[in-house]
């Protein structure tokens, strides 16, 4: 009796975390990814391990998810995390006014915060705007994007998952009744094509989820929304610094190795495969970032790039797990053997995977419960040294 099997399309955060969860539950997992691990949106995240403070006022369900997953990730994969906390800072009166809502919101979401005097904040972070009006400490963190993904992938591999990178899905395979039975792939390293079969095919392609879903003629309401990020060549802060205001452009400055990264903006684009940088937005990031960390003006940009968020539309098609990520079982539209998971943010990757795996295991008749909350992940380097 062979193991139940899945194919996961996409090896970004969603794909690798889901591969880990399912492999741990004894499912045979094959991940197909047209590029290397995390080469899409996931690799380009600025690396903020959310405390949830950013969402505590307007999106409390998200905020609670963030703080819970933040604590879990610190336990299971500390090797890729700088657990240095973060700050929310007010630099003008309107920021200050937001403070009350912020305190209320974070309390309601059990996010531990601590208000500190501006002088204290400046002692902790000397490069902060000397005119800051208020500061709150939050349990943010920062992480290494690729290595977070590789840690999940390595652990999945150690449990029998197989990763086929540089392998692009050209079309889905169907049985006579319109159900998906697998994928037809193109190995880009040697030009060969072949078929892979599985009980369930999981579309975990994030911003590209709509494009893959279209291969089965079903719709997924994902709205790809790119934003620019600028990495400057000096590590001016040791913690993430968030603007104390409603979510907006350029409201985060955080450290990443010997740099600081400022993000981000929001715009729309037609071609997901190449999103150009809009030069005016680089200036915008400098202006916004400098309001919190003025000495960014003395730093030079080291890298400038875009990343495309997979924002899920508010349409109610599909079973909504939470407002930020959504799971779609396309059997409901007549296409069995095919599901999509998209949306979400890096911090909640494990939770997205848990809920996806729960649904998929239910369909497969696998009753093993999720164990990823307590399982420390293996070293990310093992991804490259373990064979497939």
């Amino acid at each position: 009796m062979s193991k139940p099997s899945v194919i996961i399309i996409g090896a970004g955060f969603t794909g690798v975390a889901t591969a880990h969860d399912l492999a741990q539950r004894g499912v045979q997992v094959d991940v197909v990814e047209r590029g290397p691990i995390a080469n899409g949106t996931s690799g380009r995240t600025h690396g903020l391990l959310h405390s949830g403070g950013r969402y505590a006022v307007k999106d409390q369900e998200s905020a609670i998810e963030c703080i819970d997953e933040n604590m879990i990730l610190r336990k299971i994969v500390p090797e890729v995390i700088e657990p240095n906390g973060g700050m929310f800072v007010a630099v003008d009166e309107s920021d200050l006014a937001y403070g009350e809502d912020f305190i209320e919101g974070t309390q309601a979401c059990h996010i531990p915060i601590e208000e500190i005097k501006p002088e204290e904040a400046l002692k902790m972070e000397p490069n902060l705007n000397p005119n800051l009006l208020a500061a709150f400490i939050v349990p943010d963190g920062t992480f290494d994007p690729l290595r977070l993904a590789l840690s999940f992938a390595a652990t999945a591999k150690s449990n029998g998952a197989r990763f086929h990178t540089y392998t692009e899905v050209k079309n889905l395979l169907f049985d006579g009744k319109g159900n998906v039975t697998g994928v037809h792939v193109w190995d880009r390293t040697n030009g060969q094509e072949r078929d892979l079969y599985a009980d369930i095919t999981i579309n975990a392609t994030g911003a590209w989820a709509g494009e893959i879903a279209a291969m089965a003629e079903v719709e997924v309401p994902v709205k790809p929304t790119p934003g620019v990020m600028v990495a400057y060549d000096r590590r001016l802060v040791e913690r993430s610094i968030n603007r104390l205001n409603k979510p907006g452009d350029g409201d985060i400055v955080l450290p990443q190795r010997r740099m600081v990264v400022v993000g981000t903006t929001s715009y729309s684009v037609d071609n997901l495969d190449y999103v150009p940088v809009i030069e005016e937005q680089i200036d915008q990031m400098l202006e916004q970032g400098a309001q919190m960390i003025p000495s960014i003006r003395q730093a030079k940009p080291r890298g400038v790039y875009t990343a495309t968020r997979p924002l899920v539309g508010s349409g109610t098609s599909g079973r909504s797990i939470a407002r930020t990520f959504k799971f779609f079982d396309h059997e409901e539209s007549g296409v069995g053997g095919f599901v999509t998971i998209t949306g979400g943010k890096a911090t909640t990757l494990r939770l997205m995977a848990e809920q996806t795996a729960d649904h998929v295991c239910e369909k497969l008749g696998v009753s093993t419960p999720c164990m990823t909350k307590e399982t420390p992940l293996l070293s990310y380097r093992l991804f490259y040294s373990l064979p497939n």
Binding site: G35, E82, D144, R258, Y384
Partner: protein, 244 residues
Amino acid sequence: MAENKWTVNFEIYRQKGQGAPKFETFAMEVRPDEYVIDAVERIWAFHDRTLTYRHACHHSTCGACGMRVNGVEKLTCITAIQSITRNGGTVRVEPLRNFPVVSDLVVDMGKMYTRLEQVGFRTTVPLNEAPPPDSQGIQRDRGASTELERLVDCIECGMCISACPVPLTTPDYLGPAVLAGAQHRGLNQSSAQVLALVDSSDGVWRCHSAYECTAVCPSSVEPAWRIMDLRKQVVKERFKRIYG
């Protein structure tokens, strides 16, 4: 903002399966302040979907996009096109040396990762052990910093191993990245196996001081200095084990 556009020829190394390698040239319109990886990405997106290359973060923290650009190892996400050529110039892009080529610009660095694990190279350090502040830098409140941590500088990009002349002819040389990783951990924190691994003719003694590793490192690791320091650590450890 003035749209300053250059035309640059990109000669890309191509190799598939067991076929012979060759170079293909793509004439690309680029902004001079764009990065080499942007051009490579556009070649894939708009000109040739068979092109394979490694990339992830696009801001020099993941170490995936190291390639040889006009013969020298560069992290292509932070290498501005204007820093290596001019309008009408040619940029040759090849995979890293001293690793087996998988396809086009992608190499297999499995051996390096295995060895980094073997020497126990750490991934984070406590803040008070981290490198000194930047020049305009952060006066660190050292008292509070024992709970704070920092990711290490080395992004495991493999460029130092590519630039080193020794692996050209010595298959088993551990290489700068691995030796620097062992030095970083400290032999007094490592097992006898690690000591044996680095204190060998393919370990710390195989370095012949070309210093090209430090020259190409994009992350201020200074592997050459670390290899020499590791030699001192080796001698110290050996003395300890002989004289107790």
